[in-house]
């Protein structure tokens, strides 16, 4: 893993326990995670201009706005719209999931139904494919 170039992943997740788990796991898999818990902070991170390879997005977040709002903003931004987004949420409803897929996210996962390595594995594969 060390030999690979580190991918930067922006993680929007609000649950303290899960933030920690995601950060650890992504780090272990050679990612450079940036952890935020609100849509606002996520946008701020993007605006900093640092290269972001991929987004890990929860639906419900702290602050105002949810994952959908974030995706809409990204897709409307010429520089961000091609960054792959993986929505990882326990609580999104069927219409929301449909909206995510229609907006062109890469995949949707229900957290409790998946091992974290499964999700990270999928992200890695999609990035490899892209490269």
């Amino acid at each position: 893993m060390v030999k690979k170039q580190k991918h930067t992943i922006l993680v929007l997740e609000d649950d303290r326990q899960l933030v920690s788990a995601v950060r650890e796991a992504l780090g272990e898999h050679g990612f450079e995670p940036i952890m935020v818990s609100t849509v606002e902070d996520g946008i701020k991170e993007l605006e900093k201009g640092k290269h972001i390879d991929v987004i890990w997005l929860d639906h419900y977040l702290l602050g105002s706005g949810n994952g959908l709002d974030f995706v809409v903003q990204m897709k409307n931004h010429p520089e961000w719209k091609n960054i792959p987004i993986f929505v990882v949420s326990n609580t999104a409803s069927a219409p929301n999931i449909r909206s995510y897929l229609e907006l062109g996210i890469s995949n949707f996962y229900t957290k409790a139904d998946h091992d974290i390595t499964q999700i990270i594995g999928d992200i890695e594969r999609s990035l490899e494919g892209k490269n």
Binding site: D15, Q17, L18, A21, V22, E24, A25, E28, N90, T91, S93, A94, P95, I97, T110, K111, A112, D113, D115, I116, T117
Partner: protein, 593 residues
């Protein structure tokens, strides 16, 4: 006839006439002898003799004249009496013969008995008078009656009873028994000792038969009366029960006219009894009820089957509506429906509570997912050696935490599915699927268990349609539950079979095993929420008891049917039919997982 003595003077004549004649003769002889000896009297001899003879004759004639007329009169009376008796006897005989009465007479001193021809004929013997012993009569009496007849006769002869009259059975010549009425009267001597007894018998068999029929009819009528009274009591009891029921009960005639409503019905709907009677039960109909409910209702009750729904909305007199649970029972006799009994309840509140409860389960389950995700991911990370190698025990324990967590995730997902099905919020998103592929994918997931239990799976997919329009998640849930149940509830080395084909213009899915089976007594419950059969609960502690409930709800929501047959320790087969046209899209806030 008045009894008269013999006339007076008869004895006088018989005794004194010879005496007078003898005295006259002696005097004539004496005159003849003595008068000639006395010369002076000689010429008077003849005259004296003549006078004596004439006197005795005169005396005798006088006596005769005095005595004879009463005797002539007496003789005449005698003749009349004889004639009258003869006429009388004839009358009696005619009367006896005409009446059909048989006459008998017993001489108590000799034991001899006289039986009239009519009586003999009645008893089936040759039609003429008969002299017999009394024992002939007594021996002919029916053994059951003989003692009674004997006693009646004795009591009468002893003077303890005033009359002899008794009904009994007597044997005819051909051995049959005849009911007769026997009435007799005794002739007694001066001290009251009976000498003879005579009487008549009458054949009362037909009377007896009528009596028996009447008695049987009377008994029948009394029984019927008792039954009717009991029925009336029952009807009153039921009427009271129905009247005091807290459920609204109404009865309608086959054309829908209301013929009865109970007080609860009046209270629920706001119509008085007078308002309701005679009106069509449609008066409660509300626009809010889906038309297919009424269609299903008519289909059921016109097939004389009970109908039950929890989805009907009724309208009260004041225009307000309520959600009702309604059961309609057609009451039929033969082919004819007599009336419909409807039992109805306002379930608005219950439904609201149900909904709140289900929403709570949904919310709680969602909230459970986040901590479950944390447990899953952290235990997974421990096992992934990120933070160093675990020793064997540690790895085993964390492995158990991870597995326990997976079970909890399954349970939460099942609860969410149930709440979505119950709330009707689940979505159906049909797309072109391959049922065989989905089935194979489920089987490959089950491969570890199948291998561990050395179970075989026969696949019957040759008639399977290539594609089917369905929500793949729902088809997956169906296969997942049916197949994992078969694996779980079949002994090691058992055989499973999965079939996908087209039958009855439907997609047909069959899953069969030769496993533990479902006990007969519990087969009706297997689609109930949280039900697990006794025999499998003892063998396997896992399982939520929600799977079959979910499967059935999905199949029914897709317009399909599910059925099964099962025998304990022989195995179970599930049959699923889904419309060949596929599932119909249904918007919903949640998909099933």
């Amino acid at each position: 006839m008045k009894k008269g003595g013999t006339p007076r003077g008869g004895w006088l004549l018989l005794f004194f006439a010879p005496v007078v004649l003898l005295i006259g003769s002696l005097l004539v002889a004496w005159t003849e002898y003595w008068f000639p000896e006395i010369a002076s009297l000689a010429p008077w001899t003849t005259w004296t003799m003549l006078v004596i003879a004439a006197s005795s004759a005169a005396v005798v004639i006088l006596m005769i004249i005095y005595t004879l007329p009463p005797y002539i009169h007496f003789a005449k009376k005698g003749e009349e009496a004889i004639a009258a008796t003869a006429i009388g006897n004839e009358r009696y005989i005619n009367a006896l013969a005409g009446s059909g009465l048989g006459f008998w007479e017993y001489d108590l001193s000799t034991g001899e008995a006289f039986y009239s021809a009519r009586m003999m004929a009645t008893l089936g013997y040759p039609d003429h008078d008969q002299i017999e012993q009394m024992t002939f009569w007594y021996n002919s009496i029916h053994p059951d009656d003989a003692e009674g007849v004997k006693r009646a006769m004795e009591y009468y002869l002893d003077g303890r009873t005033r009359e002899y009259a008794i009904e009994y059975r007597i044997r005819r010549a051909n051995g049959e028994y005849l009911w007769i009425m026997d009435i007799g009267k005794a002739t007694r001597d001066d001290v009251g000792k009976p000498q003879k007894i005579a009487g008549v018998i009458e054949d009362i068999s037909s009377v007896k038969r009528v009596q028996e029929v009447l008695s049987a009819r009377t008994t029948e009528l009394e029984l019927a009366k008792g039954k009717i009274e009991e029925e009336v009591r029952n009807v009153r009891k039921f009427q009271k029960a129905v009247d005091s029921s807290i459920e609204a009960v109404s009865i309608t005639s086959p054309d829908g006219a209301i013929i009865y409503v109970n007080p609860a019905w009046v209270a629920l709907n706001g119509y008085s009894i007078e308002d309701a009677l005679g009106r069509n039960s449609r008066l409660l109909k509300s626009e809010e009820t889906k038309p297919e409910i009424f269609q299903a209702l008519w289909e059921k009750i016109s097939a004389k089957l009970p109908f039950h729904t929890e989805d009907i909305v009724n309208k009260r007199k004041d225009g307000t509506t309520y959600l009702a649970e309604l059961s309609i029972y057609p009451i039929a006799e033969g082919d004819q429906t007599l009336f419909y009994v409807s039992v109805c309840q306002d379930i608005s509140l219950r439904k609201e509570i149900d909904r709140a409860k289900t929403e709570f389960v949904s919310l709680a389950s969602h909230q459970l997912r986040t901590p479950l995700s944390a447990i899953r991911w952290y235990s997974e990370m421990l096992l992934s050696k990120y933070v160093g190698e675990l020793n064997e025990k540690q790895r085993q324990y964390v492995g158990e935490i991870y597995q326990g967590n997976l079970r909890m995730v399954d349970l939460v997902n099942a609860l969410l599915n149930v709440s979505r099905l119950d709330l009707g919020t689940f979505a159906i998103e049909p797309e072109t699927t391959s049922p065989v592929e989905i089935c194979e994918s489920v089987l490959s997931e089950l491969a570890p268990q199948l291998t561990e239990k050395k179970q075989t799976v026969e696949r019957v997919f040759t008639q399977a349609p290539k594609t089917y329009l369905a929500d793949p998640k729902l088809i997956r849930i169906i296969f997942q539950n049916l197949l994992s149940n078969s694996v779980k509830y079949t002994q090691a080395g058992g055989a499973l079979l999965a079939e996908i084909s087209v039958k009855q213009n439907s997609l047909y899915i069959r899953v069969t095993d030769n496993g533990y089976g479902i006990p007969k007594s519990q087969q009706s419950k297997i689609f109930q929420k949280l039900f697990r059969a006794d025999n499998v609960r003892q063998k396997d502690t896992e399982g939520t008891g929600l799977g079959m409930y979910i499967v059935k709800a999905i199949i029914e929501a897709s317009g399909g049917q599910i059925a099964f047959e099962s025998e304990e320790n022989k195995g179970t087969t599930f049959h699923v039919l889904l419309p060949i046209s596929g599932m119909v899209k249904k918007e919903g806030s949640k998909g099933l997982t």
